[in-house]
Symmetry: C2
Subunit: 435 residues, 2 copies
């Protein structure tokens, strides 16, 4: 008499959705395999700080195998997933196929330019560590080129940094960038006229930080403007060229650095594999997070389109974590012969940081701005960072910045191409950008 093989669960994607599934399944009687095309988890909420030379890439990336040490039953495989064989229960990738009894897809999202001419070619996305490094290098190189540029017009273009999109990423990055440029960078470049240095946030809608309570949304542009950021609301971008951003009202902004934070969509791999699409490149799933007609396949995180109270759930880390847990628990229910339960998102709060001592936060029914919100933001992110060493090092970097008004990572390093494509142009490379 032999015991039956334990059911095999494959999780694709080591973002928040994937890791929280894994955590929930780690002690269950299943065989667990995690696949990702990177060997690290990216703490995306702090990615903008890598681009703003505030944190080192290593501080927001954590080796997957270190995480798995705590879960000896789980295995990891570094793999580029290329297709799904749903009838055959197989994930096809560049190595041997991964065979599953249950599958959790947590591919995340990529940046999305909505077909705006020039946006894919001439704006820089901010959705992966590599893109964060490219953006940091680009900003620092623009300053270096400005130093030796005799033509005043070109120099001003080099010194104009335009952020398209006023969501959390855009607003947080604008604050961090203004602090970088008007702080440590100013000491590094005494020969530059800092009246020529400009940071713009261009947002198509009425205000920044859509989705937050109005009092917090009012605070953000006020605070950013006080920091020297030029905030343009009701300003829809119609076209981007290597030297300009064009707005709907005819305004032309001369700028050689455009950061695109105005849109994300589900990873295009899911659409390419023929999964049922809802909206915005996100997969139509059942309330239980299962694929229709494939009860053994779950989709979680940014890639899953789920409505709650008539509105689509936002593409943020807490949703992904909770969905990862729900998918894992539903699989355990199925194994035990029970029905999977529908997912319901419990919102604990939302927050965004604008800069030094300045943030907005909503926790429970209460809202905070300024210093108290900033302290809350700091503590929450420190606690969430995976790994004790990461926490320690990030805290050191932040303390250093805070007390010495300094930035630690002003290196154009390593030498990489000055632009990386938005992932939608490079499907082979795009299957996994953890949300």
């Amino acid at each position: 008499m032999t015991a039956a093989n334990p059911p095999r669960v494959v999780v694709v994607g080591a973002g928040f959705g994937g890791l929280w599934s894994l955590r929930t399944l780690a002690r269950a009687p299943v065989e667990l395999l995690l696949a990702d095309r990177h060997n690290y988890h990216t703490f995306l909420p702090l990615l903008y700080q890598v681009a703003a030379a505030e944190l080192e890439p290593e501080e927001i990336a954590y080796p997957v195998r270190s995480i798995l040490r705590g879960h000896p039953r789980a295995r990891f495989v570094l793999a580029n997933v290329q297709d799904l064989d749903l009838p055959g229960h197989r994930v096809l990738c560049d190595g041997p196929p991964l065979v599953y009894d249950y599958l959790i897809l947590a591919l995340g999202s990529v940046s999305h330019v909505f077909g705006i001419p020039g946006a894919a070619e001439y704006s820089l996305p901010l959705k992966s560590v590599d893109q964060g490094i490219v953006l940091r290098n680009h900003i620092l190189e623009s300053l270096e080129h400005a130093v030796r540029e005799p033509d005043a017009e070109r120099r001003r273009r080099l010194l104009t940094f335009t952020i398209v999109g006023g969501g959390p990423t855009g607003a947080e990055f604008a604050g961090a960038l203004a602090e970088l440029l008007y702080g440590p960078i100013k000491s590094d470049y005494p020969m530059l006229d800092f009246r020529e240095v400009r940071v713009l946030v261009v947002e198509a809608s009425e205000g920044l930080l859509a989705g937050l309570p109005q009092s917090l949304r009012d605070y953000a542009p006020r605070r950013l403007r006080a920091m020297g950021v030029d905030v343009r609301l009701r300003a829809a971008v119609t076209r981007i060229t290597p030297e300009t951003v064009h707005l709907k009202d005819g305004t032309i902004i001369p700028t050689e650095t455009v950061i695109w934070t105005a849109g994300v969509r589900g990873d295009p791999a899911a659409e390419n594999w023929g999964l049922p699409m809802a909206r915005n490149g996100r997969v139509a799933v059942l309330p239980t997070l299962q694929l229709p007609e494939h009860p053994e396949v779950y989709v979680v995180g940014d890639l899953a389109y789920v409505e709650q109270d008539g509105k689509p759930l936002p593409m943020v880390a807490p949703v992904a974590m909770q969905q990862g847990e729900t998918a894992a628990r539903n699989i355990l229910r199925q194994i035990n012969g029970q029905e999977p339960l529908p997912f319901r998102y419990k919102e604990h709060g939302m927050m965004a940081t604008i800069g030094r001592n300045a943030a907005v936060a909503q926790i429970g029914g209460r809202t905070f701005t300024g210093f108290p919100a900033w302290v809350v933001w700091l503590l929450v992110h420190l606690v969430q960072l995976i790994g004790f060493r990461q926490r320690l090092v990030v805290m050191l970097s932040w303390a250093w910045d805070y007390f010495f008004f300094e930035r630690v990572v002003r290196l154009i390093l390593p030498s990489m191409p000055r632009t990386v494509p938005h992932s939608s142009e490079n499907p082979a490379d795009s299957w996994q950008k953890p949300q």
Copy 2:
């Protein structure tokens, strides 16, 4: 009555030679310009620790503009130097030309494969931060590929790491790599059979660490072997393929990772620009470090060929620092109408670390091995690291490794091509690898 313009000194290269020239000139009545194609100084003596996932790249790279904050008279320009116009006193680069009254060339060296077939194509060099990152990624990717490789022969090739050259870089890297693989990596890959994991050092001469006293040279292979490293002496490499290293005695080592530390030469740019060559791509200079027939041009560091007591000076940091100081002082003498003085190297000591609690050091007339030498090595390198923050962070990383037997940076990050050319193949890219 107007004062004459101060003489203009251009320093090319922000390695040890360039920076030590700059320091010496910083308070003198000259106009100072430093040019480098990177915006950071690289602390090359610790580069091997980046490749061994022990330090983050940011810990051994320091922004040049931060260094210059202490020297307000000096300016920096990020530039790719393309040629010299010696008669016109101009350095030609991708921006406007740099006009000088005095020039200090400190281009450093690049790795050199002596025409051994396959070495340029299939071995990885270790002479720049970018190369260190590529090597780290390659090692970690080899382990990931080995995990999913069913073919035992290919798996063993993936798990065989061959270091060609037993000088300080080769010996230090071998020790660090063995500690990485048999320590933290072993905990990360419980599914691998670590009897299949091999680190080899292949050295053509009689022993490791040529140039050090015999007692220290005897210690190194003994210690490395005790750590599990396969040290092959009198083993000349005749050919490298993607899957093998061929030795003169007919031995074929199946291996997919070959690290080339067996040779360096002066930066080929100097030869391309028509400077007078001595040996090994190094420029023939007068004892005063001046170019013959160009008393206004100095060459320092690895690029300068200088003999002392009938032997060429080694290509190491202390020589470059002292030559940088001498060149700077000679320029000040020339400005004051005095004759430049010949350079004389004062050796304070030599040291190399083999691993945990194990190093060799010669200081003054005394030699140390083992733990005492290791403590000396540690303190000397900490003191030499530029910048207080770098020292603090490196110390933390080392302490972490030491007490937790852990490595901090096991990330395949960022995604870069798996191989970089040896610089000699890519002259456009090679003018500045600080020694």
